[in-house]
Every structure is written in structure tokens, then in C-alpha cells.
Amino acid sequence: MRLNMQWTWFHRLGSPRWFYQKTQRWLPWLSAVSAILLLTGLIWGLAFAPQDAKQGHSFRIIYLHVPASFLALAGYYLMAIAGAIGLIWRIKLSFMLMKSAASIGAVLTFVALFTGAVWGKPTWGTYWVWDARITSMLILLFLYFGVLALRYTFSSHEASDKASAILSLVGTVNVPIIYKSVDWWQTLHQPATIKLTSAPSMHPDMFAPLVVMILGFYCFYALALILSTRAEILQREGKSSWVRQLVANKRGEV
């Protein structure tokens, strides 16, 4: 009995209606913060940060490339954890988050690969190099594709949710390999510039806007995830009374 009492908050957290109503209030703040951070980071990084001694202006694409790569990886973990929570506690909301995370993560992985290719042309003289981290990123994109492909082939939400969750959990085995691959067979690519254990090897004037951009990307990611999940909630819960009420109210306003 006590156990039940303690866990009610957890299950309230998993209610799509609760999520929808709660995030309504966060949205303006989150939009404002991510817009400010991204604009500051972009203007600072592109216009005011010093040039790189060897790469000149072309290094500035780092301000898009690095945050996108960060979130592409973190997004895979988020997707897998959301899937695991959904599988273990049978929480619908968690599956909806997972589904949104899959699409956003795939787009971010593509952005990371694309900006990497654009950066590679002036730096290495070629758009594509079969280097460890690029290849791992490509495999990550394929992993995202697998989850996305699986989700469109089942007829019921329940089956596709669980299948995608299992697949993303299996795929998490690949994500540590992506990190390890830098050590395994590193070739043309630079070693990881930002290390959590040691001081950054970038100059602080270049590093500061990158931090702003990474924070901005995180906020923007959260915003995109919430918006996408809200759309998913409305779609799936379309028959419930609170969504109907919501639609009726909107109609009334217009």
C-alpha cells in the first residue's frame, strides 16, 4: 500500500495529459532561451571569435558541427532510455518521447555528417574520408533509420513502440563503440577536442561561443522534442475527452 502511494507521482508524470498541460507553460520560456542562446552563439562564433591559425574561417562550422554531433549521440541514449522506461513501466508518454527523439536524432545526425563533409573539403581537400568517427556517425544514422523504419511497418502503435524500444536498446551497444572508435583506428580526424578530464585544447576565445552554442542546441533540442511529443499526444489521444475539449475550446476562440 505504501509502495503504491510512493509511486503515484511517477505514474502521474507518465500521463500524456499532465505532460501536455505542464509543457504549455514551459514553451515560451524555452523558445526565448534557445533563440537567445543560438543567436548569441552564432553571432559571437561567426563574427567575433578569432580565426584559426591553420584553417582560417572554415573552422567556424565547428559551431554547428560539434553541438549537432553531441546531441545526435545524446539523443540516441535519450531515445533508448525512454524506450526502456516505456517497456518496463508501460508508460505511453515514454514511447511518444522515444518516437519524437528518433526523428530529431536522425536529423541531427545528418546535420553533423553534412557539416562535417562541408568542413572536410577545405581542411582535408575531400568531402568524405572513411575515418573512425565519420563512419561511426554514419552507422549511428543507420541505427536511427532502423528505428524509424520499424516504426512505420507495424499497424498498431503498441507493437511498433515496443519493437522500436527493443531495437534502440540493442543499438545502445553500438554507441559506446562510437566513442571507443576514436582510440581504435584513428586516421585523419582530429582527436576529440573537448575532453571532460583535461583542459580544452581550443583557445578560450573560440571555446566560449562553442559552449553557448552547445547550450543553445540543448535547449532547442528540448523544445523540438516537447513540440513533437505534444503533436504526437494530440494525434494518439484524439479520442479522449480532454483533447476533444481542447479542440472545442480552440474552435470557440477562433
Binding site: F142, S156, K162, I166
Partner: protein
């Protein structure tokens, strides 16, 4: 107690082997596929021994991967259609054991013959003699990992009618680490480097896959019964 743990394993292993013996043609198909694709390589690229030898470690592994992928789709589908999968799922046994039995049977029928025939491919591709033993060992360990991971994909795509391409799509990214270390084992032997370390990584992959894949397979199989 021992029956509870191992009964399902041996029972399903022998059942699968018996079924395979009755349909010998199905077992030979991936082998023939392996040999045929091997013939395509010299035809498409060049018959010169040096160029073939340079390609051999990677090509042998890519072909082994494709041959395994080709055969894995039918791992659960017959049982799914005739209802014996349902019987397996409601049996009071530890489910991981029958699943492991089936996967082991798959490896015995696909992975092991591929491994045994690989020296022939080695000769075709002018692979140096020092690399033959590493190739056999890497294929023996690696194809077992491929069977285990492939079984996860086969279980996930089981309720779908057109699962084949999707299965390849799901499983191939997961196969890539195995491919990397498998061909690295052969390549290291060709280059005269220590080939035991990549082989040890393959063995570690196998240990992880034996421990974790049955969980995912069972979860996916249960899912197939719900819709």
C-alpha cells in the same frame, strides 16, 4: 533443476538439426551463395593474385555476413506460422534456453559450414597461408555473433510479411563492429601483426551477445504474439 535450465536448449537444438536434416537443400543454399558471390569478385574486379589477396580479408567477411543475413530470416518464421512458437512461449521453461538452442542450431548449419569452406575461398583469393587459421577462428567466433544479433532482427520483424529488407536494414549497422574486427583479424595475420587481439575482441563480442541477445530475442518474440 538442471532440466529446467538446459532441457529447452538441447531439445530445441536437436529439433532444429533434425528439421534441417529433413530439408537439406535449405542448408546448402547459403553455402552456394557464399561460393557464387566469391566467384563474382575476381570477375568484377581483377583476377590478379595480388589484388585479390589485398581484398580477401574484407571480401570474405562481407560475403559471410551476407550469407548469414540471407538465412536468418527464416529462423522463427516456420514456427511462427505453424504455432509451435506459441507453444514455446507458453512452456514453463526459461525461454532464453530454447532460443539459444535454436540460434546454436542456426550457427551449426550456416556459420560452421561457412567457416569450414572458407579455406577454399582463401585459396581462390590467394590469401597467404599464415592467414588461414586466423580466418577460420575469426569466422567461427564471428558468425556465431552474427547469428545471435540476426536472431534479434528476425524476431522483431517476425509479424511482418515483407520483413526481409527491413531485417537487413535493422541488423546491418549492428553487424559492423563484428565485420571490423573479423576482417582486422585476417588483415593483421596477413601483415604479420598480432592477430590474437582482434580475435579476442570478437570473442568478447560473442560473450556479450550470448548474454544479452536472448533477452532481446525473447522480448521481441513475446511481442510477435500480441498482435
Amino acid at each position: 533443476m538442471s532440466n529446467f535450465l538446459s532441457g529447452g536448449f538441447t531439445a530445441y537444438l536437436f529439433r532444429e538439426l533434425l528439421l534441417a536434416y529433413r530439408r537439406r537443400g535449405d542448408v546448402v543454399k547459403p553455402l552456394v551463395f557464399f561460393l557464387m558471390v566469391s566467384t563474382l569478385v575476381p570477375l568484377a574486379i581483377a583476377p590478379e593474385p595480388q589484388r585479390l589477396a589485398a581484398l580477401a580479408p574484407g571480401m570474405i567477411w562481407i560475403m559471410a555476413l551476407l550469407a548469414t543475413l540471407l538465412s536468418i530470416e527464416s529462423l522463427f518464421s516456420d514456427d511462427f506460422q505453424d504455432g509451435s512458437l506459441q507453444q514455446m512461449l507458453i512452456a514453463p521453461n526459461l525461454l532464453a534456453m530454447p532460443v539459444l538452442g535454436k540460434v546454436t542450431a542456426h550457427w551449426l548449419m550456416i556459420g560452421l559450414p561457412l567457416t569450414l569452406i572458407s579455406p577454399l575461398i582463401g585459396i581462390w583469393f590467394s590469401l597467404p597461408a599464415v592467414a588461414v587459421l586466423p580466418m577460420i577462428l575469426s569466422l567461427a567466433l564471428g558468425t556465431a555473433v552474427l547469428s545471435l544479433i540476426g536472431a534479434v532482427g528476425a524476431a522483431l520483424t517476425l509479424p511482418l510479411r515483407q520483413g526481409g529488407v527491413l531485417l537487413a536494414l535493422l541488423v546491418m549497422p549492428l553487424y559492423m563492429p563484428v565485420l571490423i574486427f573479423g576482417s582486422a583479424t585476417i588483415q593483421s595475420a596477413v601483415d604479420g601483426l598480432a592477430w590474437l587481439s582482434p580475435l579476442a575482441v570478437l570473442a568478447a563480442f560473442l560473450a556479450i551477445a550470448v548474454a544479452l541477445c536472448p533477452l532481446a530475442i525473447v522480448a521481441a518474440l513475446r511481442l510477435s504474439q500480441n498482435n
